[in-house]
């Protein structure tokens, strides 16, 4: 056992740190979700041009959340953030039916990334909107049930009302507890 891990063990409340990568198309609600996790105001969020990072405490975990802009032009940069990621949160705008195919293609590409063989939490966000598709519909469309190589979960939520967010994070910390 190294000195550092020994010291960690001696501390009464060892910090389990998780690096969380928040991805999804532009306008999916990633930054809103990030701010909700950090209990911050969500009324003046500007479209993300680069990335945002926040550290949040949750159930003995220190969550370091990386929120990366989702415009088509900057998606090639997503791969720069794959390394050392413990869990991927993929956010979908459940009311943006025009782009279900596009978001599915991006997610499929992420599944093929060797550096990103981590559990995936899919947030079917914006369930508060009139035109939102059910999470089951989205799961079928994305063919999530065929995933065999990792733990995954789809969670309906609304970052704006807060519904479903806690449930998603609970699943995430459980998935990581099993892994560690």
């Amino acid at each position: 056992m190294g000195l550092l891990s020994l010291l960690r063990k001696l501390r009464s409340n060892p910090d389990l740190e998780l690096r969380i990568l928040l991805l999804g198309l532009d306008n999916a609600g990633k930054t809103t979700l990030l701010k909700v996790l950090a209990s911050e105001d969500i009324t003046h969020i500007t479209p993300t041009q680069g990335f945002n990072i926040k550290s949040v405490q949750s159930k003995g975990f220190k969550l370091n959340v990386w929120d990366i802009g989702g415009q088509r032009r900057i998606r090639p940069y997503w791969k720069n953030y794959f390394e050392n990621t413990d869990i991927l949160i993929y956010v979908i705008d459940s009311a943006d039916r025009k782009r279900f195919e596009e978001t599915g293609e991006e997610l499929t590409e992420l599944f093929e990334e060797e550096k990103l063989g981590v559990p995936v939490l899919v947030f079917a966000n914006k369930q508060d909107l009139m035109n939102a598709a059910r999470s089951s519909e989205i799961a079928d469309g994305l063919n999530l049930n065929s995933i065999r190589d990792r733990a995954w979960q789809i969670q309906p939520c609304s970052a704006v009302t807060g519904e479903g967010v806690k449930e998603g994070i609970d699943w995430m910390t459980q998935a990581c507890n099993k892994k560690k």
Partner: protein, 344 residues
């Protein structure tokens, strides 16, 4: 223990999923405007009431939404005129061409658009991606319920970033993607008012002089080297006061322009940095302040006179630059602060 916990949370998931799916969507068609060709479609105040609107596959049509809205997507439209009342979150325009849009929103986004002219109030930085020949101007419109709808959508008439466009796909050395509509053009030149008795009670007006949103010059070339910073501190009536101040300036000197306006929260430390004094540390804690940049020759003296007149016999606190030299620095400090806040 662990197992029962899991089972419980699983049940919760299911319950929640059902809960979220349970809401009444029987009239969802009222909120989707699809495939209109050469038609005029409108929604009156109270009929949308903060729900989502989807506009798609329309051509040569006029679409008017005179209500506050959760969010809007506009897809695959050609040659349409679209008016959208205050949007709480984002408007996303995709694959549209030759459209004219008037919109009030928190976020403005476009992708794969061509020749869309927008009269805009945007609470954050507007962004465009893979879009070209886009033109922008300040939103200018009014009707009897608009002010209340701003409040319902959580937007401020003073917090407007319409000209501060971020282009995700700029073309090097060329300004082909976006430009500004000349200030002498008005919304009425682009979008016709709807006709019909159902609109009479709304008192629709596209006259810039009666616009609820103060008309800002934005990033167009300024006409004078002299600017002035005026900040109204929040004591519950600062919005009315700022509006009256702008009216009085207009009557004093019609050449005086409002370059930009912001309504923003300041911490005591921010006030020390921006104003370089302790004097406003308490005042900024009353709530969001309204910051205005005015511009014309003799602007500082003009603003000082107008503020003295406005504040005679009242107790509210207003900051006005003391000299053109100081103003230059203060304007930069205030708006740098405001732009940085937006990115956090």
């Amino acid at each position: 223990m662990d197992d029962s916990c899991c089972a419980f949370s699983l049940i919760c998931h299911k319950l929640l999923a059902r809960d979220l799916d349970k809401r009444d969507k029987s009239n969802v068609e009222n909120f989707i405007i699809d495939g209109k060709k050469g038609e005029t479609v409108s929604r009156l105040p109270g009929t949308v009431n903060g729900e989502q609107i989807v506009i798609q596959n329309c051509q040569d049509s006029n679409i008017y939404i005179f209500d506050h809205i959760a969010t809007v997507s506009i897809d695959d439209c050609i040659n349409c005129n679209i008016f959208l009342g205050p949007i709480k979150s984002s408007v996303f325009i995709r694959d549209c061409k030759q459209c004219r849009v008037a919109v009030v929103c928190q976020q403005f986004r476009t992708r794969d658009c061509f020749q869309v002219d927008t009269f805009l109030l945007c609470g954050t930085q507007p962004i465009i991606e893979s879009s070209s020949r886009m033109k922008f101007a300040c939103f200018s419109f009014n009707y009897s319920q608009l002010e209340q709808q701003f409040k319902s959508a959580g937007l401020s008439i003073f917090n407007n970033n319409w000209s501060n466009i971020h282009d995700f796909t700029p073309v090097p050395d060329e300004d082909v993607n976006f430009s500004y509509i000349p200030p002498e053009s008005t919304l009425a030149d682009f979008i016709p008012l709807p006709e019909g008795s159902e609109f009479e009670s709304l008192q629709l007006s596209s006259d810039p002089n009666t616009s609820l949103v103060p008309q800002t010059w934005g990033r167009r070339r300024k006409q004078s080297d002299e600017s002035c910073l005026v900040v109204f501190f929040n004591d519950g009536s600062c919005v009315e006061r700022a509006v009256r101040f702008l009216h009085s300036l207009k009557t004093k000197n019609s050449k005086c322009i409002l370059v930009q306006s912001k309504e923003i929260l300041m911490e005591p430390d921010d006030s020390r940095r921006v104003f370089e004094t302790e004097s406003y540390v308490t005042a900024v804690q009353g709530g969001p302040v309204i910051g205005l940049e005015l511009n014309c020759d003799g602007c500082v003296a003009l603003c000082q006179a107008a503020v003295v007149e406005l504040m005679a016999g009242t107790t509210g606190l207003v900051f006005v630059s003391q000299s053109p030299q100081a103003a230059e620095k203060q304007v930069e400090a205030f708006y740098n602060f405001a732009d940085m806040q937006m990115g956090i």
